[in-house]
């Protein structure tokens, strides 16, 4: 069984992070692509949260400690390398999860979308890892910053390890973090939710 709240929250929070890229991407193609990833995840979030209750009540009226998303997805966008590394790691986890639940509607439909996400991230990891000294350095820093959050997802998979090897990027040797599934979040979640919820909360009971 896919946990509707955990994965729904993952998709919602990661989608919100990607929305923060809109109009700020390095190329117009990436503006389109990142919005596309955000849309896919928002769609999956809505389907999953609707299983757990009313999608808007869940998205807009819970406190940070009531969110069940993993810590990885709430990490800030940082530079493009951070966003791509985060997406590689998360889409790899989600692809695997969906792939193991072919009987689940959301997973069955979502697995194709997420396969694209994972390939998109893979291609950029190669470009960044093998591109310039600066892109290699930034991607290494992103990996070190985000790797601690893979433990909560029982990652990384052989796919990720292959991508890193192909991109000449070292697997970081850092301790793991967890707590998101229990509502113990990093300090980055509350400001993200503040922005997400502000308008909805300012007009209690209004229809939109």
């Amino acid at each position: 069984m896919i946990d509707a709240l955990e994965i729904g929250d993952d998709c919602l929070v990661l989608s919100q992070r990607l929305c923060q890229w809109v109009t700020r991407a390095p190329t117009l193609e990436e503006d389109v692509a990142l919005a596309n990833l955000a849309l896919d995840l928002l769609g999956q979030a809505r389907l999953l949260l609707s299983r757990a209750g009313d999608e808007d009540d869940l998205a807009y009226l819970r406190e940070p400690a009531q969110f069940r998303n993993c810590l990885l997805v709430e990490q800030p966008n940082g530079d493009f390398a951070h966003t791509i590394v985060r997406h590689l790691l998360y889409s790899d986890f989600l692809f695997d999860l969906y792939d193991r639940h072919p009987g689940d509607d959301v997973a069955a439909k979502g697995v194709k979308e997420i396969a694209y996400h994972r390939d998109y991230a893979r291609l950029w990891i190669l470009r960044l890892g093998l591109g310039t000294d600066e892109s290699h350095r930034r991607t290494t820093a992103a990996l070190e910053a985000l790797w601690p959050f893979t433990g909560e997802l029982s990652q990384p998979s052989p796919f990720v390890l292959d991508v890193l090897r192909e991109a000449s990027l070292a697997v970081p040797d850092v301790a793991q973090r967890e707590g998101g599934r229990r509502g113990e979040h990093t300090e980055h979640l509350a400001p993200l939710l503040a922005e997400l919820q502000v308008l909805h909360r300012a007009h209690p009971g209004a229809r939109w």
Binding site: A35, D56, E134, L199
Partner: protein
């Protein structure tokens, strides 16, 4: 051999491989580039609300809309490239102020209702301007416009519907909607450009069948379309002189503040500096990414 003028006279499409006057080419580049720039700068006033949309459904709609605008930018830069100018050159011209984007995007979006007013009025005006461009003499531009107009009319309906929901919501929502319409109405009318008596490029563009109708004709068409829609919304258009003229078969409307139009065009609108600063900083921050992609492509090509 079929000449450029034969194609124009026969109302046929000019294609990239065809000979064309240099002035036709530069006019088209200027117009298509300005249009492309408007799409990407036009993402900003709406983009800032995606993260704050008040329901997940509205968030998805707005995100998809802004994504479409980026897509329109891609089609249009592509159409301009068929005229022998690279996207990078056009972006440089935008960034250093040699080329413009539509002035309408220099107004701010302080409330959520602006998402509705932009959809209804700004996209509405854009459609009235752009539908005739689907029959423009230059093939790649005309085909891009067909696709764009289809998506824009979808956006316009969504904006109208958003505004309708607000106008029939709580008193705060209704007043938010009215306030947005008050702020966007006049700038929307300015989107059709200066009055025909002062419009500079129009005659030649008409002869080349790039442009099909005059600024004032299109503006009138837009006003006539909006008045009954505003009634259904239950919102007031902020023009005391707006009334039906049975003799003309059109709505009369008040004087446009062309002084404001010129000020905003000259760079002194409420958001000109912010829009350009945001655009340039995104471009500059992405430089290392584009460079990495180029280096990787070169390496893979070896």
């Amino acid at each position: 051999m079929v000449t450029f003028q034969d194609l124009i006279d026969a109302d046929e499409r000019v294609e990239p491989r065809d000979d064309m006057p240099e002035a036709y080419r530069t006019t088209l580049i200027r117009q298509i580039a300005q249009h492309a720039h408007s799409e990407i700068i036009g993402m900003q006033p709406e983009g800032s609300w995606i993260t704050r949309a008040p329901s997940l459904k509205r968030k998805a709609i707005l995100l998809a809309k802004v994504q479409d605008e980026a897509g329109h930018g891609l089609y249009l830069y592509g159409a301009a490239e068929t005229l022998g100018v690279a996207r990078e050159e056009l972006l440089d011209a935008l960034h250093d102020g040699r080329q413009r984007y539509s002035s309408i995007f220099n107004y701010p979006t302080p409330t959520w209702a602006d998402m509705g007013a932009i959809g209804w009025l700004v996209d509405g005006a854009a459609i009235v301007n752009q539908v005739p461009l689907c029959r423009c003499s230059y093939g790649p531009y005309a085909r891009a416009m067909v696709r764009i107009c289809k998506e824009e009319s979808f956006h316009q309906r969504q904006g109208y519907e958003l505004l309708h929901t607000l106008a029939h919501g709580t008193p705060e929502q209704k007043s938010m909607a009215q306030d947005a319409v008050d702020r966007w109405w006049w700038p929307s009318l300015m989107m059709f450009g200066p009055p025909d008596t002062e419009s500079t490029h129009s005659a030649q563009s008409m002869a080349w069948k790039i442009k099909r109708h005059s600024n004032d004709d299109l503006r009138q068409r837009f006003v006539d379309m909006c008045v009954p829609q505003a009634e259904i919304l239950g919102l007031t258009l902020p023009d005391p002189d707006l009334r039906w003229n049975a003799g003309r078969g059109h709505y009369d409307f008040g004087e446009i503040d062309w002084g404001e139009f010129k000020r905003v065009l000259a760079g002194d609108g409420p958001m000109n500096r912010e829009r350009m600063a945001h655009r340039k900083s995104a471009h500059d921050e992405g430089a290392w990414v584009r460079e990495a992609a180029r280096a990787y492509a070169a390496r893979s090509a070896r």
